[in-house]
Symmetry: C2
Subunit: 257 residues, 2 copies
């Protein structure tokens, strides 16, 4: 099943995504399995929102062996996690706005995202598997000059629109057996085996929940093997086969509309 | 006015806190000024929740000149912000649970917290002032061994119960003219001028909103000048005069109930 959130009549509504239409739902499938269909809209032209606004937004770095070799970093000995901020989220087809002040490398990072569906603490690997409600696609847009200048990732990775996520949550896919592809203006710029990770999402969930309660709607962004530069005027697509394509235009601040 | 969130009848309810009673409200004063009183409960024995669950949880470090001198760090040249995670929040009187694995220094950090009441971007200093709905008190509990071992603050500062906040949001106080006091078992362990900061909350809001939209309910924890160790069996109070006293017992994991 594919679940999305769209803007309909000025509010955020959950939907079940079909080939041509989206069935609008009475509530969140993350909160209750008893959701009713309250209407239908065509999929074409839908106003896609981030498929979930997480209580906690976890993000993993340094998680692909080939990326680590490329940047000359040692392979981490244990799964460690950081955070991103909800203000930066934006949906499928919404613009990534490059701040006017940003100089230097401005890059897309194609990532697999696990969406948590249960409250869990002290999870086993099996419980971690069962707790993943579904999978979506993220683009961890990064301004490298700020990333190197600042003490934290606050503006380099969390400026408004720097975290496109979507288009939907796919519940029926073996996410770690897929291929991640990054395209700019239709041209492939990176392609890697989605599951070729140092630690997989379940390893992270086991480690996190030793100390932390995870909740329905929490997201875990899994890092990227390869990145590529993007510029205003580009359209950047992140595709994970079996999940979907997250597509966003890039605009320069001041030229948003 | 003092606004709190309490657990009543199994759900989170906003309340207006008086000397003896709490008036229960029909909605969040952060979302609408039109809230009705739907009941009253005695203040004594109330089950206090964190006064807000923020869309984004901002936290400032290295913000008191005397603290910087003490740890031998240079004074920051610009306001930079980090993040904490909502799972770690807990309310007034709820226990801080020290994980069984934690060794080394386990410390309380008494902090002023600004609660944002408006959506704002590109704020002036005056708009930043107007956008603060009120003030509360935070305790940025930290496990130093983890803080030094880990790449991020994920478990050192974000394990469950490590972020007590409360007891309420005070809307009518000149927060920067107050005194912050940290007490353990009734004994004063730190006391400092709340407003003796390198950058004040409004400086941070101006800087953050250059790149980031802040939203109602976002919180900004302002850092601490002094800290002190805490141990299971202790009761730790953070008082900011004119706002309130946030009091939490400390328990060892496994002895929570």
């Amino acid at each position: 099943m594919r679940y999305a959130r769209i803007s309909a009549g000025g509010r955020a509504v959950w939907g079940r995504v079909g080939e041509l239409d989206i069935e609008l739902l009475s509530g969140s499938p993350l909160e209750t399995p008893d959701v009713d269909v309250i209407g239908t809209v065509p999929r074409e032209g839908a106003d896609w929102l981030p498929p979930v606004v997480p209580p906690v937004f976890y993000a993993v770095g340094l998680n692909y062996p080939r990326h680590l070799a490329h940047v000359g970093m040692p392979v981490p000995e244990r799964p460690e996690v950081g955070y991103r901020a909800n203000n930066a989220l934006t949906g499928h087809r919404s613009p990534i706005v490059k701040p006017a002040e940003v100089t230097g490398r401005f890059e897309a990072e194609p990532e697999l995202v696990a969406v948590i569906g249960r409250t869990l603490r002290h999870a086993t690997h099996g419980e971690a598997r069962d707790a993943v409600f579904g999978w979506t696609v993220g683009n961890d847009v990064s301004a490298r000059t700020w990333q190197h200048q600042d003490r934290t990732f606050w503006r380099s990775k969390n400026s408004d629109t720097f975290k496109p996520m979507g288009p939907w949550i796919e519940t029926d896919v073996d996410a770690l057996m897929q291929t991640t592809t990054l395209r700019v203006n239709g041209e492939t710029r990176a392609e890697f085996a989605t599951g070729d990770m140092v630690f997989d999402p379940f390893d992270y969930i086991v480690e996190i929940t030793k100390h932390i309660t995870m909740h329905p709607g929490d997201v875990l962004w899994m890092g990227a093997e390869s990145v590529c530069p993007i510029e205003p005027g580009d359209t950047v697509d992140v595709e994970i086969a079996g999940i979907g394509v997250l597509s966003n235009p890039v605009l320069l601040e001041g030229n948003e509309s």
